[in-house]
């Protein structure tokens, strides 16, 4: 009993870590630019395809494809932000939703055209396969690796946000973009760099997610609800809130599928409604 519970918790945390990696960019876009970017999952999908393509066609080892996935998604994000997104920061939520949903549909169709509609597989290196024994529990090595990557990313982001000049600028812009611009902060540059960073992290998450969530052209639509849920529950623009929300969502989803498979998807949608009703402003704001 205890062993399965701990196993479910562990899998939930690993799954939540992935959600965090992919969702953090969405949270930044929403908190910083007030932009509802439904196309965010497309950046994750791009990272995933870069990973599989580099492995299959160029023979790059799995670990080396991860930076590639990050860079590719970040580059696309950096290119699209000034071209398209910037025009819509002041638009109504409906316009933003439609615009980014249009981008999502285009990305799904484009991915089907380029890579076909099938599931992509990833061959993990041998040292990431298998399980290790820890306190009588069988822990998947790959899931431990995921948690490690996310912990490292979280530490990196925290030190970026709290310890650097650029981080201070980001925090200033989240609180009040207009006043920040008045103080001489180049708001457009802050937006652009954060957007690219968020897209890159989504790409990294997408590459890491192939083994857990799978990868096919409908990826951006299939997991959209999860990303949105994480961001809304965690509170936009909050690192800690997003992390906590990701792990809560991850644990509930895994536990729901394990303990009550008959009502599978109800658990996550039900959780979403309950959390939204209890904390309309996100967890973080309610705690203050």
């Amino acid at each position: 009993m205890f062993a399965t519970l701990a196993g479910v918790l562990f899998d939930g945390v690993a799954y939540g870590s992935l959600l965090f990696l992919i969702s953090i960019g969405l949270s930044v876009t929403l908190g910083l630019m007030n932009f509802i970017n439904l196309a965010h999952g497309a950046f994750a999908m791009l990272g995933g395809y870069v990973c599989t393509m580099a492995m299959a066609r160029l023979g790059v080892p799995f670990l080396a494809t991860l930076p590639l996935a990050f860079v590719a998604a970040a580059a696309v994000g950096a290119a699209l932000e000034p071209l398209l997104y910037r025009r819509l920061y002041r638009a109504s939520p409906l316009d933003q939703v439609l615009f980014s949903f249009g981008l999502t549909l285009m990305s799904v169709a484009a991915a089907t055209y380029v890579w076909g509609s099938g599931q992509q597989a990833v061959r993990l290196p041998r040292f990431l396969l298998g399980q290790v024994q820890f306190l009588g529990l069988d822990l998947g090595v790959y899931r431990l690796f995921l948690i490690g990557v996310v912990a490292a990313t979280m530490l990196g982001l925290l030190s970026l946000v709290t310890g650097t000049r650029f981080g201070a600028q980001i925090r200033a812009c989240v609180d009040n973009a207009q006043a920040s611009a008045g103080l001489g902060i180049n708001v457009n540059r802050v937006f652009g760099v954060s957007f690219a960073l968020g897209s890159g992290l989504a790409g990294l998450g997408g590459a890491l997610a192939i083994d857990v969530l799978g990868l096919d052209p409908t990826f951006p639509l299939k997991y959209l609800v999860y990303f949105l849920l994480v961001v809304v529950v965690g509170g936009a623009g909050s690192l800690a809130g997003t992390l906590i929300a990701s792990i809560v969502v991850g644990i509930f989803d895994v536990a729901g599928k394990y303990y009550v498979p008959a009502i599978g998807a109800f658990v996550i949608y039900g959780l979403m409604l309950v959390l939204l009703l209890l904390f309309p402003g996100g967890l973080r704001r309610s705690w203050r």
Binding site: L84, G102, A109, L273
Partner: protein, 327 residues
């Protein structure tokens, strides 16, 4: 918010203008002009009615919803199940579909109209997904992914059987859509309708002048749910089949797209947007279903960036631009 200019939004009185009469005459003419494509024409009408229901809450009250298919599907399953289990009388089935959908809309309205746009978006999305899963799991009642067949309907008014060609289906749909449209037209021109526009443009101020904002939003959400239910029931009756996709997220998203294509906030936009959408989907997905999604996405991006107010107003402003250049 996408919104047409005042001249189109504000008709000075409730009289039918020549353009409106011409619009409905065109719909009647389609019966004789397109004898082979009447099933598609019925699809346009039903999609139009569904889009109209969303326009009531989105265009007039400013409630962004991604879960309108919940009510559409509820209406479709109600009408389908009634007909399957022996109650094949179409008109009462239609009303029952609308009533059940309105009841669901009313029950969920208390959570759906709360909060700001993003919260509403997610709550309505969540309600839609929950109902989809519920219908999926209750396969013994709804048929699950296989859909609900064996839907047998009696003659409309005891006189007109549903024929293969779709003639009865089209006339029946057209009459229903027209009647519901007239009611919707009355609603949006009433003081109640005006107060909805006030709420859309400034809920805090409406509250300050004593308008019961929450009650008004719940009322229009329920009404729109009923309209969506009637549209769903129409689909179930005219196709004599209910598939699980009537509750799907894609149907909700398509509905938003139709309203935005035609322009939100003037009822006809929903009907025109639905016609453009359904006909374009029929033509383009016949060529290749994957490319159709691509072009749809591109169209959305272009509409948002360059043609706010939908295709109709986009064309109008384009022609104005061209005329200005000629001078």
């Amino acid at each position: 918010m996408i919104r047409p200019p005042a001249s189109i939004l504000w008709l000075p009185n409730a009289q039918w203008r020549p353009a409106e009469i011409a619009f409905w005459l065109t719909a009647v003419a389609a019966l004789f002009a397109l004898p082979g494509r009447l099933m598609l024409a019925s699809q346009v009408l039903i999609a139009g009615l569904f889009a109209l229901s969303l326009d009531l809450i989105l265009g007039y009250a400013g409630i962004v919803s991604l879960g309108q298919a919940a009510m559409f599907g509820a209406g479709a399953y109600t009408a389908g199940l009634l007909a399957r289990h022996g109650w094949g009388e179409p008109i009462s089935g239609l009303l029952a579909g609308g009533a059940v959908a309105a009841a669901i809309a009313f029950a969920t309205s208390f959570v759906a109209v709360r909060g700001r746009d993003l919260t509403r978006l997610l709550v309505t999305l969540g309600i839609g997904l929950l109902l989809y899963e519920a219908a999926n799991r209750a396969a013994s009642v709804t048929g699950g992914v296989d859909g609900l067949g064996d839907v047998h309907l009696r003659n409309v008014l005891g006189l007109f059987p549903f024929d293969l060609e779709g003639r009865t289906a089209y006339v029946y749909s057209l009459i229903v859509v027209f009647l519901v449209f007239c009611v919707a037209r009355l609603i949006v021109r009433s003081p109640f309708g005006l107060s909805l526009r006030g709420i859309r443009d400034g809920a805090a101020r409406m509250l300050a002048i004593g308008s019961p904002v929450r009650l008004r939003l719940i009322a229009i959400y329920t009404i729109a749910g009923g309209v969506a239910g009637i549209a769903g029931a129409l689909l179930a009756q005219t196709t004599q089949f209910v598939g699980l996709e009537v509750l799907g997220f894609e149907r909700s998203a398509d509905c938003v797209i139709m309203v935005v294509l035609g322009g939100a906030g003037w009822l006809y936009g929903a009907l025109i947007g639905a016609a453009v959408f359904v006909i374009a989907r029929d033509v383009l997905s016949g060529i290749n279903p994957v490319y159709w999604q691509f072009w749809l996405g591109l169209l959305l991006v272009v509409v948002v960036l360059f043609a706010r107010g939908g295709v109709t107003l986009g064309l109008a402003s384009l022609s104005r631009l061209l005329r200005a250049r000629e001078k």
